[in-house]
């Protein structure tokens, strides 16, 4: 009975995953090659796609760096100190998880746009310094939106590890006269390194694929579009060639996702192994 239900469940999950996930992804690859391999590479080499690729990678890299630094600091603060409003801070960090990315995009639009308070501030700054800093409908806006939606990933991965490890080792090291940086480098970091890597990977994956928040802040194709926006634009232009191009660009994101998935599994496996050994 038990064995039978096991196989039934395996069957259901297998069929479901195949039709819902694997088949659509395969169809992306097949569709991308419909006009031949030459056209495939030609699509990828178009100026708008190249620009979108650059913007996407830039936004992802900045988001990962910013959120790693912020994530470690926030996790450290939440797990190692007691202060009033700690629970509120902890809840605020999670906002990007629960809020629709489009709303995040609109919020930035309202803040940094011509009508927003920060927009007016930046306009005055530009006037004073003679610069031309643009946030909304420019690359900085895209980066901000990406940082926003990937905000909690790193800290959420590290916090449970720091909690379970406890602070005794750090106290012991401090008593022996070690300074804060030495303690972090030699005592704390070895505990969190795999969780940190895992958080960085999740953050990267999310940054690469973000659509909603970026969509609200990015309007110029070939300048501020990211890959998901470029795919959308290609697809909506409605000629059969550009639809194939959309699939070609999509296949890049699919391949990136598969790569991230593999690294993620390795990191997860390592983290588990690590925990067992220490």
């Amino acid at each position: 009975m038990k064995i039978k239900s096991k196989w039934i469940l395996i069957g259901i999950s297998g069929v479901f995953l195949f039709f819902m996930l694997v088949l659509p992804l395969i169809s992306v690859i097949i569709n991308s090659l419909k006009e031949g391999i030459g056209f495939y590479f030609q699509s990828l080499a178009s100026p708008t796609v190249k620009s979108a690729f650059g913007v996407t990678v830039l936004a992802a890299v900045i988001a990962v760096v910013v959120n790693t630094i912020f994530g470690i600091a926030a996790a450290w603060l939440i797990t190692r100190f007691t202060f009033k409003g700690k629970h509120i801070l902890s809840a605020v960090i999670d906002i990007p998880f629960s809020i629709s990315p489009v709303i995040a995009g609109l919020a930035f639009l309202m803040t940094f746009g011509r009508m927003g308070w920060a927009g007016a501030l930046i306009a005055r700054l530009n006037e004073a310094l003679g610069t031309n800093i643009q946030i909304v409908f420019a690359v900085p806006g895209v980066v901000l939106a990406t940082v926003f939606v990937t905000f909690p990933f790193v800290s959420r991965e590290i916090i449970p590890v720091l909690l379970s490890v406890g602070k005794e080792e750090e106290e012991a090291a401090a008593l022996m006269g070690a300074d804060g940086f030495t303690i972090f480098r030699k005592i704390t970091f070895p505990h969190i390194r795999w969780a940190l890597l895992y958080g960085v990977i999740l953050c990267t994956a999310r940054a690469l694929g973000e659509f909603g928040a970026v969509h609200a802040l990015s309007k110029t194709r070939g300048e501020t579009f990211t890959l998901p926006l470029e795919i959308d634009a290609l697809y909506l232009s409605n000629s059969s060639e550009s639809i194939t191009s959309a699939f070609a660009v999509s296949s890049i994101l699919v391949l990136m996702a598969v790569a991230v998935l593999i690294i993620r599994n390795v990191a997860e496996h390592q983290a588990k192994k690590n925990e067992e050994n220490h």
Binding site: E169, E171, A173, A174, L175, M176, K186, I187, H278
Partner: protein, 354 residues
């Protein structure tokens, strides 16, 4: 005095964790801070270590006031309750850490670590990680790590709490021997009186933030200074109507405490006790419980309930049986002090039990 606490007071909000704490320890003493949980013993240890600051009073180490000195500069080795070994460092790296932080020459570090490894019997384990060690070995590493920078004072927070009962016994004697061998002044916190009695040279009994008594284990056991110590140490029980017992008269006391070893019960035909038969009185066995290597026998003597231990080698007894009972001594106390009351009838009598 190597370490001295002078008029220490410490509060956490409304809670007074330390009240008028005064004590001193000679160099080389191994002392136990003994008390129930919440009695302030850990607070005292943490103040000496520098994790907490007293509200008033002076902490003196080697005749220097250390109140304002950060923990790392007090020359203290600390063994944490769960050892807090660095899990991502080998045994060698754990012991070397405190020396590396002080930027000592690598060669000297190696010498010192090797010396400690051989002292603690950990040779050959230097490349292991803490999770590859037994509980006892971990304690040894924690001990070696605390000693590595040659501190003047060693503090241990419940050093045996994380070890299972069987190994604990062995480690107690090991630690005592080790500390005396190194000759370092040490203070450990414990709530287990057996541990304190067995390991320590001096016991500092704490209760409700105060120090009740400081003395060697024998004194603490034999001459408890306060009602609290009398009741806390040994298998002590409060008793009512001590004056109803033969050989004791009512004094100006508020209560009395008795321990099982103060009560002797024997059968009327027991020849060993014939000389003191006149000092005994009748007790009826109310209850007998098996305690493994002895029986615990509860008797009713003249309306007073008394408990004694009976060796399994002696003749069997049964509930309801009439026995002869002699009470050797009791502790009577007033509000402040405890007093030892010997059985007046036994003055000069020579009792050989068994």
């Amino acid at each position: 005095m190597y370490i001295e606490m002078r008029n220490i007071e410490k509060s956490y909000g409304d809670f007074k964790a330390s009240k008028e704490v005064n004590f001193g320890l000679e160099k080389g003493t191994l002392a136990a801070l003994l008390g129930p949980s919440g009695s302030g013993k850990t607070t005292i240890l943490r103040m000496i270590a520098g994790f907490e600051t007293p509200d008033t009073g002076d902490i003196m180490i080697d005749e220097k006031r250390v109140n304002d000195l950060p923990a790392a500069d007090r020359g203290i080795g600390f063994v944490f309750q769960n050892y807090a070994l660095f899990r991502y460092m080998t045994v060698y790296e754990n012991i070397a850490f405190g020396l590396e932080v002080k930027k000592i020459h690598k060669k000297l570090i190696k010498e010192r670590v090797m010396e400690l490894l051989s002292l603690t019997g950990l040779e050959g384990l230097e490349k292991r990680y803490p999770n590859q060690l037994s509980g006892g070995q971990r304690q040894r590493v924690a001990f070696a790590r605390a000693l590595a920078p040659s501190p003047g004072l060693l503090l241990l927070d419940e050093p045996f709490a994380a070890i299972d009962a069987k190994v604990r016994q062995e480690l107690r004697s090991w630690l005592k021997e080790m500390i005396h061998k190194v000759g370092i002044t040490s203070i450990f916190v414990t709530h287990d009186q057996d541990e304190a009695v067995e390991v320590a040279d001096e016991i500092i009994v704490t209760n409700q933030g105060r120090i009740e008594q400081i003395a060697n284990p024998f004194e603490i056991y034999k001459n408890p200074a306060t009602p609290f110590v009398a009741e806390f140490i040994g298998q002590s029980a409060r008793m009512d109507g001590y004056h109803k017992l033969k050989g004791f008269e009512k004094g100006d006391f508020t209560g009395a405490i008795i321990r099982p070893e103060f009560v002797e019960a024997f059968k009327s035909d027991n020849l060993k006790f014939q000389d003191v038969m006149r000092c005994s009185e009748e007790g009826i066995i109310e209850d007998i419980s098996f305690r493994g290597n002895y029986l615990e026998v509860r008797l009713n003597v003249n309306g007073v309930s008394l408990t004694t231990r009976r060796s399994l080698e002696r003749r069997p007894v049964s509930v309801g049986e009439k026995m002869h009972v002699i009470v050797y001594r009791i502790y009577a106390y007033d509000d402040k002090k405890a007093y030892l009351l010997e059985n007046s009838l036994l003055n000069g009598a020579n009792i050989v039990t068994f």
